[in-house]
Symmetry: C2
Subunit: 492 residues, 2 copies
């Protein structure tokens, strides 16, 4: 065996163990007996400890040194690049800090949940202060002389920088806010759903949609869970969904969203399985797959027509007159405090608020003690009304409690990427609407598979999008698409 | 930390990883997508490789050397004894052989399944020859100058020897065969069930029975699988069951059987969790818990009365006149080729046949080429009729295909242990039948929990039984119980 072969054998085993750890997470959210929580904590700690030891195993350094990089093909070079990046990052963080962060955030999640339930920000602040301090320490270890926030962001979206995102987000905000204001002030307002949406039928239709969007049930399964998520890679990619009695869109669109994540993992070329290239390349690119499924395709006029016919066939009267009215209904803007419930226009405004606040927290410009006030002031400025309670404000998301500073912007980056991909997809498939109107999504899913998904992590995130689209990443296609779509729906 | 603390911390992590590997097995048999099989193989290999490395980790030797044994309490000494035994066994087997056995048996299982489906013994023999050779090589590495079969047996039932078991089994066989012949030749023969047994009601009743036998659903769950099994330990012990439309006993009694295994793991004192003492002490003792639940309690006259009333309440007419007739029905002897379907009297005759044949295979006295003839000759002698096809004979069990030489006798040993425990239980709980008749099993399950289950692996297997019973292990209580029970049922 060459050094490269040895390295890859080691990596395959590490990746298999990481998939096992991921499946433990799936198990915990879907089928685990309630009384098993404490034991599960020990099991997770054990496998994470094994994984961490492998990530900093000095043999990785030896192999990386021995391998003759230029002699390798593109795939091998990409694998090497990804391995080296992870190894360098892992080695920079002291073992003591890794353990301390793991221990702290596992407790912090419970404290956050209690604080949110009690609407008690103060009870959460000492914990958040501790988590932030640990993550800043980690960022300092990673960054060297560089920017702290960039060092954290790099763990989710390699190559992105806070300054670069701030520029892009600065161009998004005013046009999104203006579009929102015009639409919500318009005379014409789409109506909502009414009717009876029994759970079994919601789940049946969500499975039908999952299949239509290309989810391979032979290599996955759908279960119910409190929060929808996708988990796994290659031949075992499982998703969850949930049902809300009076809101079937919750089940249907969250399923479509998770199928976007899941098909990305399922559609990577089988030759890459269990290698670093054999997984979604970044959080942002992953989110682009879920968002283009959910929004640009799933909430298109053509597909909405198909969904209207399926829903009336399955549920009977749904309180919407026709396909055209239904297109408005699935795209309706509404006031609201909660990011995960936000519409396509306002969603990014929620993310941008968090991005600015967390950048200031990490840089030290904003104190934890001032976070709630900062949130509420910014929310009022961006949305035009005041936060009514902490669970609708600074306590709504779990991310900061579990130390995910640098994660939020990947949501909006995913939307920006989805805007680019949608622009390119429409150019490549001019007849797409004819197919979507009859529920045939195969041209869209096939284009994404062939141009993006199958390559996994072969290219860096932005390069992955550029390669698929044939043009550089920009926020312009997303903004143009949103303005055209909502101008028409709201008759602006 | 003392050397003992360090050793135990390491062991807890190893045990947590082993539980994860076990849960992967559960996942595979219950919820895994069909297309994930190959990837799952890589995942299992990865975690087994981690586990093997930990079992032979030289730090174990250092810690074991440093620890001052006599200064420790009973529990700590038992943990040390178990750790030392596993470490010694693991080190004796070369890594190459471990890998080779794992690779060979994973393929062998498929070849066996194909051969069984095709009724083609010859196509399986080269594989069996290879598996046997590897297991003999492993036995030789373990045994040193000792007996090969004993070395394998020791992996399932520490302390047992082939010669000791042969003596005990030699005393069992004639009395079991004589009892079988008298019962099956009697004028009075119990009848069978008839009726409609819908699947949902079978599962509902099996859950009710699981609860009555003490299964803690907060720390477990029941799913359907092709083969019933129990998996896990401590706070996450899951069982599976299956349903057969016209045979509700298959679901009900296999659930009771698995609950015996599961409650053993659930009822070990929580202070032992994730330590070597914190799991069932041997295959034989484990089987004793499932068999006393299933047979001595579950097929007792008193409990059969309760079950008759529950079944007629839930299923209506079941083709049996009254509780007394039903007691005969659940204990009915029948001709048959298949071990797993055998009644309480004949089951051990099936096991004894396999024990003698596998001992001769391991010692070299019997060639693989002569195995089928050996099986068929012995079966005709023990059962009085000829094997009609290989799937009813030498190809019926998976055990040898996957290298489990030395495992079969633990089934009968479990029955012998159950006989001892039942004798002691009846002495301790003279009013047991009054409770069983109303479906209250708590005195029996409580006695087993307090006298045996809670101690886990604190004592060696035979000593575990002796401690619970107050007398030494012997086959006599089992034989006396069977002869009394079936003499009465068959009016001999």
């Amino acid at each position: 065996m060459t050094a490269y072969d040895e390295l890859m054998a080691f990596q395959r085993e590490t990746r298999a163990l990481a998939l096992i750890a991921g499946r433990l997470g799936w198990d915990q959210e879907t089928v685990m007996p309630r009384g098993a929580a404490r034991q599960r904590g020990e099991e997770m700690a054990a496998i994470e400890s094994v994984l961490h030891a492998r990530r900093i195993d000095p043999r990785l350094g030896d192999w990386l040194e021995k391998i003759d990089g230029p002699a390798l093909d593109d795939t091998a070079r990409a694998n090497l690049r990804l391995i080296r990046r992870d190894y360098d990052r892992a080695r920079k963080v002291p073992a003591r800090l890794v353990t301390e962060i793991a221990r702290t955030v596992s407790v912090a999640q419970g404290i956050w949940a209690q604080a949110r339930a009690a609407e008690d920000v103060a009870s959460f602040l000492p914990t958040l202060t501790r988590v932030l301090a640990l993550k800043r320490e980690k960022a300092a270890a990673l960054a060297g002389d560089g920017d702290l926030y960039d060092a954290l962001l790099d763990g989710y979206e390699p190559g992105a920088t806070g300054a670069g995102l701030a520029g892009m987000f600065g161009r998004l905000r005013p046009r999104l806010a203006a579009l929102r204001d015009r639409a919500m002030g318009a005379d014409h307002q789409p109506g909502g759903l009414s009717g009876r949406f029994d759970e079994a039928t919601q789940l049946e239709l969500s499975r039908e949609l999952a299949g239509a969007f290309g989810y391979d049930f032979e290599r996955g399964r759908i279960d119910k869970a409190v929060h929808p998520f996708s988990s796994g890679s290659a031949d075992d990619v499982r998703i969850t969904t949930r049902t809300v009695p009076h809101d079937p869109f919750n089940c249907l669109y969250s399923t479509i969203h998770e199928v976007g994540h899941a098909t990305y993992e399922q559609n990577i070329d089988a030759t890459h399985a269990l290698t670093p290239v054999g997984q979604g390349v970044s959080m942002g690119v992953h989110e682009s797959q879920s968002r283009i499924f959910e929004n640009q395709i799933g909430r298109s006029r053509a597909f909405a027509g198909h969904l209207f016919r399926r829903m009336t066939a399955l549920f009977g009267e749904i309180g919407v007159a026709d396909a055209e009215a239904f297109y408005g209904t699935v795209n309706r803007l509404a006031k609201g405090y909660i990011r995960t419930e936000a519409d396509e226009v306002q969603y990014n405004l929620h993310v941008l608020l968090r991005f600015d606040l967390e950048r200031d927290l990490v840089s030290g410009k904003l104190e934890v003690a001032d976070l709630e006030e900062g949130w509420n002031t910014r929310f009022a400025a961006d949305f035009g009304y005041a936060v009514d309670k902490p669970s609708n404000g600074v306590l709504q998301d779990v991310h900061w409690a579990v130390g995910l500073f640098g994660y939020f912007p990947t949501y909006t980056l995913g939307n920006v990427y989805a805007g680019c991909l949608h622009h390119a997809l429409r150019r490549a498939e001019p007849d797409l609407d004819t197919q979507l109107d009859r529920g045939d999504i195969s041209a869209a899913t096939g284009w994404l598979r062939d141009n993006l998904q199958r390559h996994g992590g072969l290219r860096e995130p932005r390069e992955t999008i550029r390669h698929a689209c044939g043009f550089a990443v920009s926020e312009a296609p997303l903004l143009d698409y949103l303005e055209a779509k909502f101008t028409e729906i709201y008759r602006l």
